[in-house]
């Protein structure tokens, strides 16, 4: 737990360092705004002094004009600061999201064993979106709350050191007040943030499973439980807020005290001057200075409020830091092989005493597996789920490496072959192909973006996909995938087969390609797969009876060991 905290803190600190560079223009503009505000206050004080002490100073038309110009300037600078802040948030998000996407690709399919796709997507999209405020609001505010009052206080000190001291003392009281009420509140509010997240997760979980709840007749009971959970959260949150709001009340308090003290100080000075019957010019100069410092007080405290408002943005950062840890480090990258592999005469595959273990507690997944498949031949892997079929396929795909023994392709150790060469020599079809949001054409060309139309149509025909493609509303340009036209399981599998034909790799790995199909469709798909298998090395993992017709070598696996091996029945 303590470890978690240090990691999170280190992450937050590193991000703050990186983000501060981008937030620099925002901070500079924030300081400029503080300086302009001082100018505006000076103009207002001038006009007021001129009105209040008739004859004390020349008519302040120029001060009024100055106020107009400074106000316009401040509006423009504020606009620029807002846009810059948005840009800083955007740049930080782009950097973080790029890193997360890279890490996901680097982690590869192995990540999906540990994490749900929804979880990873939420991290790459929503978590990072939620960090916007941390970079665009919190980081500038965390610097400006010290810097801006310094600028304002410094300028006030030139005019009236005494009043500046009052402001400074009240300003320093703010962090002390925050500390007094705030430390407990900060800890509690972090827990509260977690409790809030938990309630939201519970609500989402119950909504997702609403069909199960409704069909179990538990709607009323579950609704009551939900209401109770929300009520409990409210009671606990309010306990925290009661204290937390005190810390912002302390800002209000400090400001009111400063205002009253500065006003009283100037008031008594002016009263004295009045009683002494000072001349109008002296009077006017004093009024000007007094009004100036009084009007400056709210500007002096404004950055404190911005900081308090941005505080919740900070909470998102620690949440994101915790979530980031599900991603692999950059350091886990394996050294890539350099060997090339000649595949002109097909690919021969051999396993030599291969061991593999996913989880030491559950024992070896593969235990001393040896077999060889000559180029152009077929190997059928049979066995129950958990017997190690998919693990063999994953090893051949290079997603995982053997714990012991070695795998050779045309006699060359797989680990020494260049990753690009491995990708080029292998096609893979799994249980359910992923169809990307896009047109059917894009989905098939995914296998080879530079394929010609003729090659594309040949692949479609070979996969027997041409007939169903013709029946789609817009043929090859039909939009499929998320939000598009839904393809049936058999049609989707034909898309995968067309991809494999288009890629035309000498080694084909098939992992339960028909387990989601009904028998009639399964037979059709196996026909197409047999065509794909011709003149290629095929390794097929399946528990379907229909593989009997596939021919070739056969291995039966049980709990990671080969129990029988031989020629297939046909």
């Amino acid at each position: 737990m303590n470890d978690d905290k240090t990691v999170m803190k280190a992450w937050t600190r590193a991000q703050s360092r990186l983000g501060r560079g981008q937030a620099m223009p925002v901070m500079v503009l924030g300081l400029a705004i503080a300086a302009i505000a001082v100018g505006q206050v000076w103009c207002v004080a001038n006009v007021l002094a001129c009105v209040l002490v008739p004859g004390g100073m020349p008519v302040a038309t120029s001060a009024l004009a100055g106020l107009v110009i400074l106000s316009l300037l401040r509006a423009v600078v504020q606009m620029a600061a807002d846009v810059m802040a948005a840009r800083a948030g955007m740049k930080a998000r782009r950097r973080l999201r790029g890193g997360v996407l890279d890490a996901i690709l680097r982690g590869g399919p192995g990540l999906l064993r540990q994490h749900h796709t929804g979880e990873l997507t939420a991290l790459a999209v929503d978590r990072i979106e939620a960090l916007d405020g941390f970079f665009s609001r919190w980081l500038p505010a965390s610097v400006l709350w010290m810097a801006a009052p310094l600028v304002i206080g410094g300028l006030a000190a030139i005019v009236q050191p005494g009043s500046a001291l009052i402001m400074a003392l009240c300003g320093i009281a703010v962090p002390f007040g925050q500390a007094l009420f705030g430390i407990g509140a900060a800890v509690a509010s972090r827990n509260q943030f977690l409790a809030m997240t938990r309630l939201q997760a519970r609500f989402l979980d119950r909504v997702r499973g609403i069909a199960t709840i409704v069909l179990s007749g538990q709607t009323e009971a579950e609704t009551r439980r939900l209401a109770a959970a929300a009520e409990e959260l409210r009671v606990r949150t309010m306990k925290v807020l009661r204290v937390a709001f005190l810390s912002s009340a302390s800002i209000d308090c400090a400001m009111v005290v400063a205002l009253v003290l500065v006003a009283l100080r100037n008031g008594s000075q002016l009263m004295t001057l009045h009683e002494q019957g000072a001349v109008a010019t002296v009077m006017a100069a004093h009024v000007l200075r007094g009004l100036f410092v009084v009007l400056l007080v709210p500007e002096f405290f404004a950055p404190f409020r911005s900081l308090a408002l941005a505080y919740q943005d900070r909470a998102h950062a620690s949440g994101a830091a915790a979530a980031m840890r599900m991603l692999p480090d950059a350091s886990t990258v394996r050294a890539a092989g350099q060997a090339v592999c000649d595949t002109g005469h097909g690919v021969a595959v051999a396993f030599e005493h291969v061991d593999f273990t996913w989880d030491a507690a559950r024992g070896a997944t593969l235990d001393d597996i040896s077999f060889s498949v000559p180029a152009g031949n077929t190997l059928v892997l049979c066995g129950a789920s958990g017997s190690g079929k998919s693990t063999i396929i994953e090893l051949l795909l290079g997603f995982i490496q053997p714990g012991g023994g070695r795998i050779t392709l045309n006699g060359i150790d797989m680990t020494t072959i260049m990753p690009e060469a491995l990708v080029a020599m292998t096609s893979w079809i799994g249980q359910k192909p992923v169809l990307f949001a896009g047109t059917l054409r894009e989905n098939i060309l995914f296998a080879r973006p530079d394929a010609t139309d003729a090659q594309l149509h040949a692949a479609l025909e070979a996969a027997s996909a041409d007939s169903f493609v013709a029946s789609l509303p817009q043929g090859l340009d039909t939009f499929i995938g998320e939000g598009g036209f839904g393809l049936s399981g058999g049609q989707a599998q034909r898309v995968a087969i067309a991809r494999a034909f288009l890629k035309d790799a000498p080694l084909v790995l098939l992992d339960e390609p028909t387990s989601h199909l009904d028998p009639a469709t399964e037979a059709d798909v196996f026909d197409s797969l047999r065509r794909l298998a011709a003149n290629r090395t095929v390794i097929l993992a399946s528990h379907s009876a229909a593989v009997e017709g596939f021919g070739g070598q056969r291995i039966d696996l049980d709990r990671g060991r080969i129990v029988t091996s031989g020629e297939s029945a046909s």
Partner: protein, 566 residues
Amino acid sequence: MKSSDSRAVARQARREGVLAPLFQILHIWRQRAPLLTAGAILSLLALLIGLLLMREAGLRVAAMTMGMIVITTGALRILGSARVILRYAERLVTHDAMFRALADVRVWFFRNLARGAAAGLGFRRAGDLLSRLVSDVEALDGLYLRIIVPLAGALLALPFLFIAINMVSTVLAVVVAGLFACGAFVMPLIAAMLGRRDGGMVNHAAAQLRIGVLDMVGGLREIATFGAEGRMLAHVHDRDAALYRAQMKQARMLALAGAASYLCGQAAVVVVLAAAMGLGLPRIAPLPAAAVLFLTVAAFESVGGLTRAGALAGTITRAAARVVAVADLPEHAPAEGTQPAPAGTDICFNDVSFRWAEGRAPVMDHLNLSIPAGQRIAVLGPSGAGKSTLAALLLKVVAPQGGQITLGGEDIATIRDDALRGRIAWLSQATHLFADTIRANLLLGRPDADEAELWTALEQAQVADVVRDLPEGLDSWLGEGGASLSGGQGRRLALARVLLSRAPILILDEPATGLDARTEQEFLQTLNDVTEGRTVILIAHRLTGVEKLDSVWRISGGKTVELRSE
């Protein structure tokens, strides 16, 4: 199903244009009206005291320069501390009210989701749509705190400002009040209108990015096997960039709106000062001028956040519209029945016709099917043929457009939903295991089951050993941060839940999907043994041969059910 989704979206889009959804949310909050109003009133009082404080402060400063004391220091102190205390109370009360109101929305939303659309939606596994709705509910907290309360404040400040300045100069009062109305109402309104458009673009871009990332994550295997990392990354980066463009556009618009509303306030200050100097406006006396100036500054400060809130209003109204649309019953929703469930459990589909949407091929066309009590039948057919529709019809998730379905001779349309669902238990691949303890998950099947009954059900479902091996047994937590079960184990847990219920009819909708051949056969054999004496409707795309069945039906061509034979 797709087209009914798009119709639902269109229906929501129509509602979005009006204030109706907001009023409906307020209607849900009506029980909280006293508290919400109290919060608003406290906030108004705090504002009023704040305005008075600034006015008096201005007067005092000005008066002292002229050598007189108009109000006492005491009055200032009282106003000052009253302001701090009121601000504190206001924040507590408004937040408390908001939490209560949000809890009410959650409960209302959940109940309505369960009553209508939800069951249909859940049946269709529209998980992403549901997640979006949940975040919509959470977006509603801004409605009260950021829009209603400050808007009420602005409505109060306007007449106060006008009356106070009117005592000095009518012309000045009109000009300042006009500027105030501009900053507090016109600018936020413009921001809201622009925000609706830009917000829509941002939402669209975010959705596109999400789809892109989802594709990338889900397709990691495909990407790795085709070596498409670079292409996929470029694709997602494009969408990412599109999102940033939309957001930057919105940010520029927001910055502009913020600047415009700031300038309204500054214009008012300049006008007051000009009046004090007698420039272009009737000259006002110095003392009142100072009071008016301070008052104006404070009034404009109180509405400074409204323009930004206005820009967010689009998001909030859209969220509200989607949330209240849940109360719209879906087009196929059956009417709630009133009768108790009959004792008999013979099921009969008489001439039943159903299609999910106009223009789509009928899923059922004058379908007839009779399932006597205690029969074990299988319904086969390729995916999309309407096998699951059969379950949806029987569970009254949807109503047929023609014909009727009877249970024990009673039309199920007349039977109370909960009574009907008490007789029929449902298990499918969409059956949800909740992020909760195993015990709580099981008790959903029968809340009054005792420990022994839970274990019996687990034994029957052949998952007892797995649960026993968990460190906390029945009290182990499932889901995030809890025990992780394999797909097969999860399915068996769901089966145990179904077995716990005493429902005489079991609908098993592809109960073994995703299990390997041996596990599937064992699972189906378990089913043979433990469902003895109950009516079993097994929905599957194929049979493995181990199922013990009285008859097998096939939905063919998506139209009729024909007896195959057994």
